[in-house]
C-alpha cells in the first residue's frame, strides 16, 4: 500500500514533467479550457443567474468543463498512446502495480485540475472579489470528479484503437458536456427532456457542488439561497451521492474496457 502511494506520487510527478515538455498537451489541457471559460463568460455578461452575476455563475461552472479537458481528454490520450507504445505494459511489469499506475495518472490529472481551479479562483477574486466559501467541499468534489473522469478515461481508452483516434472517441463525451453541463445556465432552465438529461449527467453534480462550495449558496437545488458551512454540506449531499454512484459505474466500465496491452490481430 505504502509502496503503491510512493509509486503513484512518482508517476504523477513524471506526468507533470512530461506535460510541461509537450506544447500540444499544454495548449489542449491548460490554455484551451481557460480560453473557453472566457468565451462562456462573454455570453452571460450583465444577466444575473440564480442570484449571482452571469460572469460569476459561468466561472464557478467552468471547472466542470475542465474535467473534460485536463482530466478526460488528457488521460484518454495518454492511456491510449502509452498502451500502444507498450509503456503501460512495461510499467506494470516493472515495480509499480496496476492500481499504482492508474492512481499515478489520476493524481497527476488532479494536480493539473486543482491548478486550474486555483487560477479560476484568482480570476474570480480579481473580477468579483469573491473568495471560495468552502474549500474542504471543493477538494472533496475535485477528488471525486477527477476519480470519475479518470475512470471514464480509462474505459474510453479501451475502445480507442490508437492515439490519433482518441480525438474522435472523446468527442461525444465532450459535446455532451459542453451542451448539457449547467455551466452557463442552471440545469432546470433547459427545456423538458434536455433538463432531465442534464440532471443525469455525471458532470452536473460536480458543477453544482463546485458552485455551491465557491459561492456558499445553494446551487444544487438552484435556489441560490445563502447557506452556512453545514448547510452547504447538507445541500451537496444528494449530489455527492449521485457522484459516488457514477464513480462506481465508471469503475465497472473501466474494469470491463481498460486494456494494458495493444490488441493483436
Amino acid at each position: 500500500m505504502r509502496t503503491d502511494v510512493l509509486h503513484a506520487v512518482r508517476l504523477a510527478r513524471l506526468d507533470l514533467t512530461l506535460v510541461a515538455r509537450n506544447t500540444t498537451v499544454m495548449f489542449n489541457v491548460l490554455l484551451l479550457p481557460l480560453l473557453m471559460a472566457w468565451m462562456f463568460t462573454q455570453t452571460q455578461t450583465g444577466a444575473d443567474i440564480a442570484g449571482v452575476s452571469g460572469e460569476l455563475f459561468v466561472l464557478t461552472g467552468v471547472p466542470g468543463l475542465m474535467l473534460g479537458f485536463a482530466v478526460f481528454i488528457n488521460l484518454v490520450n495518454s492511456f491510449t498512446a502509452r498502451r500502444e507504445e507498450l509503456v503501460l505494459k512495461r510499467l506494470r511489469g516493472g515495480q509499480p502495480s496496476g492500481p499504482a499506475v492508474l492512481g499515478g495518472a489520476a493524481l497527476g490529472a488532479l494536480a493539473l485540475f486543482l491548478g486550474q481551479v486555483v487560477l479560476l479562483a484568482i480570476w474570480m477574486h480579481r473580477t468579483d472579489g469573491v473568495m471560495p466559501a468552502n474549500v474542504p467541499l471543493l477538494l472533496v468534489v475535485a477528488v471525486l470528479g477527477v476519480a470519475l473522469f479518470g475512470l471514464l478515461a480509462a474505459a474510453f481508452s479501451g475502445i480507442t484503437p490508437n492515439a490519433e483516434l482518441a480525438q474522435i472517441t472523446v468527442l461525444p463525451v465532450i459535446m455532451v458536456m459542453m451542451i448539457g453541463a449547467p455551466v452557463a445556465y442552471p440545469a432546470d432552465v433547459l427545456p423538458g427532456p434536455l433538463g432531465v438529461v442534464s440532471n443525469l449527467l455525471p458532470v452536473t453534480p460536480v458543477v453544482e457542488i463546485m458552485r455551491t462550495a465557491f459561492l456558499g449558496a445553494d446551487h444544487v437545488s438552484g435556489s441560490g439561497a445563502a447557506l452556512g458551512m453545514a448547510g452547504q454540506w447538507v445541500a451537496a449531499l444528494p449530489s455527492l451521492g449521485i457522484l459516488l454512484a457514477w464513480v462506481a459505474v465508471a469503475a465497472l466500465l473501466a474494469r470491463w474496457l481498460f486494456r494494458w496491452e495493444p490488441r493483436h490481430g
Binding site: 509502496t3 512518482r10 513524471l14 512530461l18 507498450l86 509503456v87 515495480q95 502495480s97 494494458w260
Partner: protein
C-alpha cells in the same frame, strides 16, 4: 538428447538448492489459438536456462506467463515458489524483466529513464546500490561526470556503455542502444530472477559481448536467468541448460552437451573415382553413408547419431580405416566433426516441417 515433454526427468545435482522457476504442463491460448501446448521445465537457483526456437514457437508467450502478465490457460507456473499472477506483489521487487520490445517514454532522456526506474525500485524497498552483491564490470572508478546525472545512474549507464548518451532523448536512440538501456533497467535492482527476451537482438558484436559479461556476472552472483535467443552461440556460451521450442512444444531439452550429442557426429572423406556405390563401403554400426559425386571423386558422409556420444566417432572410424587398408585406398580429406547446436536446431525444425 531428445526427451518427452516432461523435460526435468533428469534430476540434476542442483535439485537440493530448489528450483527458482517451475513450469509444469503449461498451455497458453490466445482466443482459439494455442500458442503454448503443454511444456514443462525447471530452472534451479543460479542457473541460466535458454529457450531457443522458431519464430512464433511460443517463447515470448511462455516468458510473459512467468512474468505474470497473464494467468496460464492450463498447467502450473511458479517463480521463487510464488504464483506470478496472484502473488505478483511479492514477486515484483525480486524480478528483473527485459521485454522483447518497446515501452519507453520517448520524451525522457536516457538518464531520466534510469532515474525513474531507480526511484520506482527504491519505493518498492529495493534500493539500487552499486557496491556489494555482484561485482559489476566496467570499473566503478571510471565514472564520467555529466552535469545533473547522479553517480548511481551513471554507473548503470556505464555498465551497458551508454554513458555518452545520458542526456539524449530515448526517442533518438538507435535500436541497439534501446536494447542496452533495456538491459540496464532490467538489472538495476539486482534481481534474484532475470527474464531476458532476446536481449542481444540488434546489438553490435561488441555490445553483445558486454551484455554476455553482464549476464554472466549476475549469474555468478546467484541470479537465476531465463533467456530467449535466436543466436545459438549465445545459448552455447551462456546456458547451463536449454530447450528448443517449435509450435508450442519443447522438442529438445538438456545441457548444451546433451543436446549437441543428440544431434550426432559426422565423418566425411573423399575417394578418388566416381564408381563407388553404397555396397562397396562398410557400414559401421549399420550406418550407411551418403555419396556425392563431384570433380572425378566421391564425397562420402556418415552421420553417426546412435551409441555413446563420447566414443562413437572413434568406434566408427576403426572399421573405416581397416577397410581402407584392406582395399589399398586412402580416405582423402578425412574430417570428423562433432554435431553442433545448429544441427540440433535444424533437426527439430526439419522433422516438423
Amino acid at each position: 538428447m531428445r526427451t518427452p515433454q516432461l523435460a526435468d526427468a533428469t534430476g540434476t545435482g542442483t535439485a537440493g538448492l530448489g528450483n527458482v522457476i517451475e513450469v509444469g504442463g503449461l498451455r497458453q491460448k490466445y482466443g482459439d489459438f494455442e500458442a503454448v501446448r503443454g511444456i514443462s521445465f525447471t530452472v534451479p537457483r543460479g542457473e541460466l536456462f535458454a529457450l531457443l526456437g522458431t519464430n512464433g514457437a511460443g517463447k515470448t508467450t511462455t516468458m510473459e506467463v512467468l512474468e505474470g502478465f497473464a494467468p496460464a490457460t492450463d498447467g502450473t507456473v511458479r517463480v521463487l515458489g510464488l504464483d506470478p499472477v496472484r502473488q505478483h506483489r511479492e514477486l515484483r521487487p525480486r524480478v528483473g524483466i527485459m521485454l522483447q520490445e518497446g515501452g519507453f517514454l520517448g520524451d525522457l532522456t536516457v538518464a531520466e529513464t534510469v532515474d525513474l526506474w531507480r526511484g520506482l525500485s527504491e519505493d518498492a524497498g529495493r534500493p539500487v546500490t552499486l557496491s556489494g552483491g555482484t561485482e559489476l564490470p566496467g570499473s566503478l572508478t571510471l565514472f564520467g561526470r555529466v552535469r545533473g546525472v547522479g553517480r548511481a545512474t551513471m554507473g548503470a549507464l556505464e555498465l551497458v556503455g551508454l554513458e555518452s548518451k545520458a542526456r539524449t532523448k530515448v526517442r533518438q536512440l538507435s535500436g541497439g542502444q534501446k536494447r542496452r538501456l533495456d538491459l540496464a533497467l532490467a538489472v538495476l535492482s539486482r534481481p534474484e530472477v532475470l527474464f531476458l527476451d532476446e536481449p542481444t537482438t540488434g546489438m553490435d558484436p561488441e555490445a553483445r559481448r558486454t551484455t554476455w559479461q553482464v549476464i554472466e556476472d549476475l549469474r555468478a552472483g546467484g541470479t537465476t536467468v531465463l533467456l530467449t535467443t535466436h543466436y545459438l552461440e549465445e545459448a552455447e556460451r551462456l546456458a547451463s541448460r536449454l530447450a528448443i521450442m517449435h509450435e508450442g512444444l519443447i522438442h529438445t531439452y538438456g545441457t548444451v552437451e546433451e543436446v549437441v550429442a543428440g544431434s550426432g557426429d559426422t565423418i566425411a572423406f573423399r575417394l578418388p573415382g566416381t564408381t563407388w556405390s553404397f555396397g562397396d563401403l562398410p557400414a559401421p554400426d549399420g550406418v550407411t553413408p551418403t555419396l556425392t559425386y563431384a570433380d572425378g571423386g566421391t564425397e562420402v558422409v556418415y552421420a553417426i547419431a546412435g551409441g555413446q556420444p563420447e566414443t562413437r566417432a572413434h568406434a566408427a572410424l576403426r572399421p573405416l580405416l581397416a577397410w581402407a587398408d584392406e582395399h589399398g585406398e586412402v580416405l582423402e580429406r578425412l574430417a570428423v566433426r562433432r554435431g553442433t547446436l545448429e544441427d540440433a536446431f535444424m533437426r527439430v525444425v526439419g522433422e516438423r516441417r
